[in-house]
Amino acid sequence: MSANTIADVSALTNAVTDMSAGLNIIQKPAAPPSYVSTRNACKLCAPLGASLVFRGIEGAVPFLHGSQGCATYMRRYIISHFREPMDIAASGFSESSAIFGGGDNLRRGLQNVTAQYKPIMIGVATTCLCETIGEDVAAMVREYVLHVSQDAETGGSAPHLVHVSTPSYSGTHVDGFHAAVRAVVEALARPSHSRSHHVNLFPGMVSAADLRYLKEIAEDFEISSIVLPDYSETLDGPALDAYQKIPAGGTPIHGIRSAAGARASIEFGRTIRQRDTAAAFLESAFGVRAHRLGLPIGINETDRFFSTLKDIAGRPLPRKYEMERGRLVDSYVDGHKYVFGKRAIVYGEEDLVVGLAALIGEIGIIPVLCASGGKSGALRQAIAEVAPNLPESPEICDGADFMSIAEKAKLLKPDLLIGNSKGYGIARDLGIPLVRVGFPIHDRIGGQRILHLGYRGAQQLFDRIVNALLEYKQQTSEIGYSYM
């Protein structure tokens, strides 16, 4: 074969790739959901996200202004994933508070939480109930702080109070999460006269293992960082001797205070780039440069993250990560044939779905359906950016629920599912593997220790995906080779 022919062939291949990329762009929007009702929701409500954020702040107690049940349901849900204590206080609306307002309950609740927990901060998230009756929680909180500051008995000291509006009729737990991060920064960050060397890192809703790894990366780059929130210890702590009222760990308050003087912010989430997030706020109010990246899942997205870190730190990639990346590439090569052309459904929070699509796209798995209960409007574009050259256009479904995913899955005939525990029923019906990632994982142990981010996270996900497919092949084989 002459050199020319090779060039021709590669030109042809490029043309085909371009065409398929073109197909991605002109793809029709997914058909609107044919059901009015939500059937097996692929989302949780906003205050849950806010509660997670507050749990990841040093000395903070999450507090819901609404019915007692909201706090209890969310606690149970979060406990089932993390298998850790998760205290969320509630103002506990009664019928009269629903009619005459819950201000009194809120005040007494804050007093009792302060007395019991001696918190540094109380994060007050609203619920659909108090929002619907039109409570001005922000004013109530201000009034409470004023009242306490004039109270001789308390010596005028109240915990920091941060309020965030999270009605569950608007958005999902992810929206509650980002809103809480922003609310905390807005309430606590103080203008600074000089730029500090540290970096704000807003990772979004990731696992405890992810948070630990991010901190390790920053350390290795010798970048001083404030990670908000940081529930890596508060929701994945050691066995204890005495019960900690508020578990040790969490983002230090003084760190959040200094966020306005940071050198830069890094915020993960391609579907929140147009939104008014913590990083956007710090940039517009204090001129802190915002680097808004996708969740670093897979090599390409992680390369972008590390490249940003290299720029900020002004230093090359530490050898440790060069080696992690090298081993990851080597394993991609070792395993590529096991995964090539396989069809996967990925689901969960929008930004997680984007990251997973990036990862599986770069190893040769086709994301035939990318589904999320979220509805930012940015999912399609984000997936097109991170997975541009797929041989087949993925179906993109935002505002999806699990029954619509199940109905599509029957037609799409995927080889595997990647997402949280709630997809288990679909995987079971189809007899295909489910690779568990994200939240909630409540049918396995160790959800909080699943690593998704960076080269190391991609390595773990890649190994698990390949092995799930190998195991499936072995299980469904008539022969059952022990050597694959």
Partner: protein, 450 residues
């Protein structure tokens, strides 16, 4: 001593010579971090196991999400109860009202799943925005030809107990709407067993062996048609009295059906339930069969239970459960294992319940109403508890402190009722108390060093 909020001091009692006094059946103290849920939770747990009914939550998404397929309530047939349906109200619905959405949702879901009935749970804001849920249910019922029952379970309208009542009211609307033809003279309804891990199948088999017909299981492995003809049964057996007494009383009033309070947990209580039922029917032959059954079952399980007891005897237990009635059975079941209950509490017990617990327990036992994580952690340490019995929210408190744990809540997947269930219970207790992992937790490490 454990720190207790001033407002809650009267909800804790330590058994002593001091006169008995406990506050209970009141709204949780704001900011206390109660382990209780809300009215909706009460309704949802009671009705959840009805497997051929459609359960739809009318409200924003949270309430439906958090209750999707979370319980171990099994069905021998349809699995419709394990799906989660919601009107998922959005901001515009809150402004404009959710009635149209609810009607459309009901119609499409009834068409798709062909249920025998539908339960519509009105959550917090359904009432606030003024949706006429009753009218929509009536309209949907007429359009689709099945009972569509509103369940008024707005979370803030009381406590979990009020939710039980709302559920009972919905059930009561179904009862009496079908023929009782073919119902035997010796027949019962099983009220207040939720068929966790198949428990009701075990119980049902005992009754059938005694020669008793079980008309309706309310609600474990429940079926709408059975519930509709439940008024034909000669007797209601009420377990979980907190949730079902209201229904039993309503049925007594309306149909004259007498009821017996029973419990199927532990050997003593299980045997009592069967004997009490046999006594009710005043049939010596049935009593003989019951005695045979009880002896046979006890002979079967005692050797295994004794083997577990040898290892666990003398250990100290703490109990914190939803309803106090279950706590009575647990104290007795633990006693069979020669374990001592040093802490017992419930979310919704009444004064009479706590008084009975006081009689049942030893000196020094802590009795607590509507507790919270900080108190429970304090009590576990103060009483040096070896085994804590509760639900998912109590589990991490125990584990964090190096204390064994047994799940006795609705989410469990182990059958703990009946005679065979007692073996499972003993095994559960044994597998946590005897685990070698505690050697690494600090509490036990210290004990071992002493």
């Amino acid at each position: 001593m454990t720190d207790i909020l001033q407002e809650r001091e009267r909800q804790v009692y330590r058994k002593s010579a001091e006169p008995f006094q406990i506050d209970c059946e009141k709204q949780s103290v704001a900011g206390s971090v109660s382990q209780r849920a809300c009215v909706f939770c009460g309704s949802r747990v009671v009705l959840y196991p009805i497997a051929d009914a459609l359960h739809i939550v009318h409200g924003p998404i949270g309430c439906a999400s958090y209750t999707w397929d979370i319980r171990g309530a099994r069905s021998s047939g349809p699995q419709l109860h394990r799906l989660s349906f919601s009107t998922d109200l959005q901001e515009m619905d809150v402004i404009r009202g959710g009635e149209k959405k609810l009607f459309a949702a009901l119609c499409e879901l009834i068409d798709a799943h062909q249920p025998k009935a539908a339960f519509v749970y009105a959550t917090c804001i359904a009432g606030i925005i003024g949706d006429d849920v009753n009218a929509i249910c009536k309209q949907a019922s007429e359009a689709k030809g099945i009972p569509v029952l509103p369940v008024h379970s707005e979370g803030f309208k009381g406590t979990k107990k009020d939710g039980y009542r709302a559920a009972c009211e919905a059930l009561f609307q179904l009862i009496g709407t079908a023929s009782t033809e073919g119902t035997a003279a010796t027949s019962v309804n099983i009220l207040g067993d939720f068929n966790l891990a198949g428990e009701i199948w075990m119980i049902r088999e005992y009754f059938e062996r005694m020669g008793i017909q079980v008309v309706a299981c309310i609600t474990g492995d429940g079926r709408v048609d059975d519930i509709r003809r439940a008024h034909g049964a000669a007797l209601n057996l009420v377990q979980c009295s907190g949730s079902m007494t209201y229904l039993a009383k309503s049925m007594k009033e309306r149909w004259g059906t007498p009821f017996l309070r029973v419990s199927y947990f532990g050997i003593e209580d299980m045997a009592q339930a069967l004997y009490g039922t046999a006594r009710f029917f005043k049939d010596p032959e049935m009593m003989r069969r019951t005695q045979e059954l009880v002896h046979e079952e006890i002979d079967k399980v005692m050797p295994q239970i004794n083997a577990y007891r040898r290892d666990v005897q003398g250990k100290k237990a703490g109990i914190y459960v939803g309803g106090a009635f279950k706590a009575f059975s647990l104290v007795r079941a633990l006693r069979l294992l020669d374990m001592k209950t040093v802490l017992v509490g419930s979310q919704t017990g009444s004064r009479e319940d706590y008084e009975q617990l006081r009689e049942l327990c030893d000196e020094g036992t802590i009795i607590v109403d509507d507790s919270n994580p900080l108190e429970l952690a304090g009590f576990l340490q103060e009483k040096e508890v070896d085994l804590f019995i509760g639900g998912v929210k109590e589990r991490p408190i125990a584990y964090k402190l190096g204390v064994g744990f047994c799940d006795h809540n609705h989410e469990r997947k182990e059958a703990l009722a009946g005679f065979a269930g007692m073996v499972n219970f003993a095994r559960e207790v044994h597998s946590t108390v005897m685990s070698p992992v505690w050697q690494f937790t600090s509490r036990r490490r210290k004990e071992m060093a002493v």
